[in-house]
């Protein structure tokens, strides 16, 4: 099976974030890491390859720094990488990101494309689904398990409240992978060494520009919520106070 894994570099989860001057995004000087569900998507692709053979290709769209995501994936066992390299990919809307991916892989033939369920920074949960639409492929989201089946695959989707859904689908297909589907491996030191010799194709923005339309995403303002303190003494009989208190807990604090 030939599998493409779409991976994104996102700000580290516990990194202290600072807003940029215009208050529209965070400052660049934070630590970055692989988007968590994407790491699981890669792991799943590597496991599928170990079971059924084939090739694992990783792709990212982002500035030069995001190459680290690809290096790590190659060190863990991906065979080759594609880097859509441009700062303009930061903050690009989901449809254009998907269009850029589709354009970059137009000469490839994949059986499966994995994305993470969503990204830890913008959290669209859209890119994979739109990519499937652009390619005219079926897709399934929130995947917890993938088995090869006659003429295709059988996948397990996570629904709400502890329910799961099993779906049979043909190939090629796009799957968006849920965190926790498997146990992540570490890159090995040898793997890191070997990654140096694996192919990494760079694709400039200009090469895919024709496929793109204006970015429809615009962040107007980001701000840190103001902390406020407010003390209120409830008056009345015990019964009245209890009633007011439960109302407040239900409607204002919303913990009940």
């Amino acid at each position: 099976m030939k599998i493409l894994v779409c991976m994104k570099q996102v700000p580290q989860k516990d990194a202290p974030l600072k807003l940029n001057e215009s208050g529209t995004w965070i400052r660049e000087d934070v630590s970055y890491e692989v988007n968590e569900p994407d790491a699981y998507a890669l792991e799943e692709a590597l496991r599928q390859k170990e079971k059924h053979g084939g090739e694992v290709v990783v792709i990212t769209a982002g500035p030069a720094r995001s190459q680290q995501v690809l290096r790590e994936a190659l060190a863990k066992g991906a065979d080759r990488a594609i880097h859509l390299e441009d700062p303009a990919f930061v903050g690009l809307d989901a449809i254009n990101t998907a269009r850029a991916f589709a354009a970059a892989i137009k000469d490839e033939k994949f059986d499966l494309i994995f994305t993470g369920l969503q990204s830890d920074d913008y959290g669209y949960a859209q890119t994979g689904v739109i990519l499937a639409e652009l390619l005219g492929w079926p897709h399934a989201t929130i995947i917890m398990q993938i088995e090869k089946a006659d003429g295709g695959i059988r996948v397990k989707r996570e629904l709400e409240a502890g329910y799961f859904q099993f779906v049979d689908m043909p190939l090629p297909a796009v799957l968006t992978i849920q965190s926790g589907i498997n146990k992540l491996r570490y890159a090995t030191l040898i793997g890191i060494k070997q990654a140096k010799n694996k192919p990494l194709r760079k694709v400039a923005l200009a090469e895919v520009q024709d496929a793109l339309s204006p970015n429809l995403l615009k962040l107007e303002r980001l701000y840190v919520p103001q902390k406020t303190k407010n003390t209120e003494v409830l008056q009345g009989s015990a019964g009245e106070i209890a009633k007011k208190l439960t109302e407040k807990l239900r409607n204002e604090v919303r913990v009940l």
Partner: protein, 392 residues
Amino acid sequence: MAIKFRGVDFIEFDSLLSDDERLVRDTARKFIEDNLIPIIEQCNREGRFPRELVKPMAELGFYGASLKGYGCAGMSNVEYGLVMQEMERGDSGVRSFVSVQSALCMYPIYAFGSEEQKQKWLPAMQKGEKLGCFGLTEPDFGSNPGGMRTRAQKTGKEYVLNGEKMWITSGSIADVAVIWAKNEEEDDNIRGFLVETDRPGFRAADVHGKWSLRASVTSSLSLQDVRIPECNLLPKSGGLKSPLMCLNQARYGIAWGAVGAAMACYDCALQYAQFRKQFHDQPIASHQLVQEKLVWMINEITKGQLLVLQVGRLKDQERAGHQHISMAKRNNVWMALECARMARDILGANGIADEYPIFRHMANLESVKTYEGTHDIHTLIIGSNITGLDAF
């Protein structure tokens, strides 16, 4: 309060590292965070070496990481150093185990061994299937190993070894011991011998009652008429400079490791000081005296990082002298120990409890200050280098 390590980088030190170096560091950091941090305090309490980590560490390629071939990763010296840093951020004892396996056992086999010896031991040691120890120190000879009494006598096609070794890391868990002994047939020239630890006459007894490196095994070795085939001599070893070459490898790793221990203490103390409130409901980090300590630490850690990185870069160009490595070991272990003491102070009473890693690091670093050449011996090595006069 749960404190999670965040790394320490005051002057964009990371920008001095290549992408691969950072990836190596981050991989080691994650492994240690996931696998060692959750168990280390308990291991330390029980005085138990976490043997369950031997294989997982092998799988990541931590043993003999800077050697080439034989299944080893062929890391640069800087990459190897960064792995040591992350190990010791976890625990000096576990780092000691890896140092001994890599720098004190695999390295002498690699550097002084025959092809046959290399084929026999290196792949198995890289996989963690065979463990090693390094026997240089004796009860009466520590800083001055040249005075050693352990001897090798040639009889027929065998060597017969007799002597006592003391303070040997991993002694009782090792499959093979690199034993340094005076070879009678060569006028007492010091040579290295590979001694399988199951040979008759070889005994290892653990040192108990240690207050330091409790998660690492330390043993005394006794060799009574231990017979080994002559092919167990390390053919290219010769004179005291051979074990000293091994120590140079290990000391270099220690200089990085100490930075890791210091980072752990500093980061913990910083987070604690920002959280802990005393007087006027203010965090103790708001007091000048506490800030002075934190500033001292970040200052010295930053200098230590730069020092050891430069020594590593020199080493990668084969230009690092033993005096450079001595300076890095001497300075960084000293500063790490000072950081641990200050961090201990900042945590007040909590600083003595093993809910926090600081006291463990502090106690560990006392050993690290002594082994691989004591702090003062490194003073004399550097002194000798700059003045041209020996003061030993």
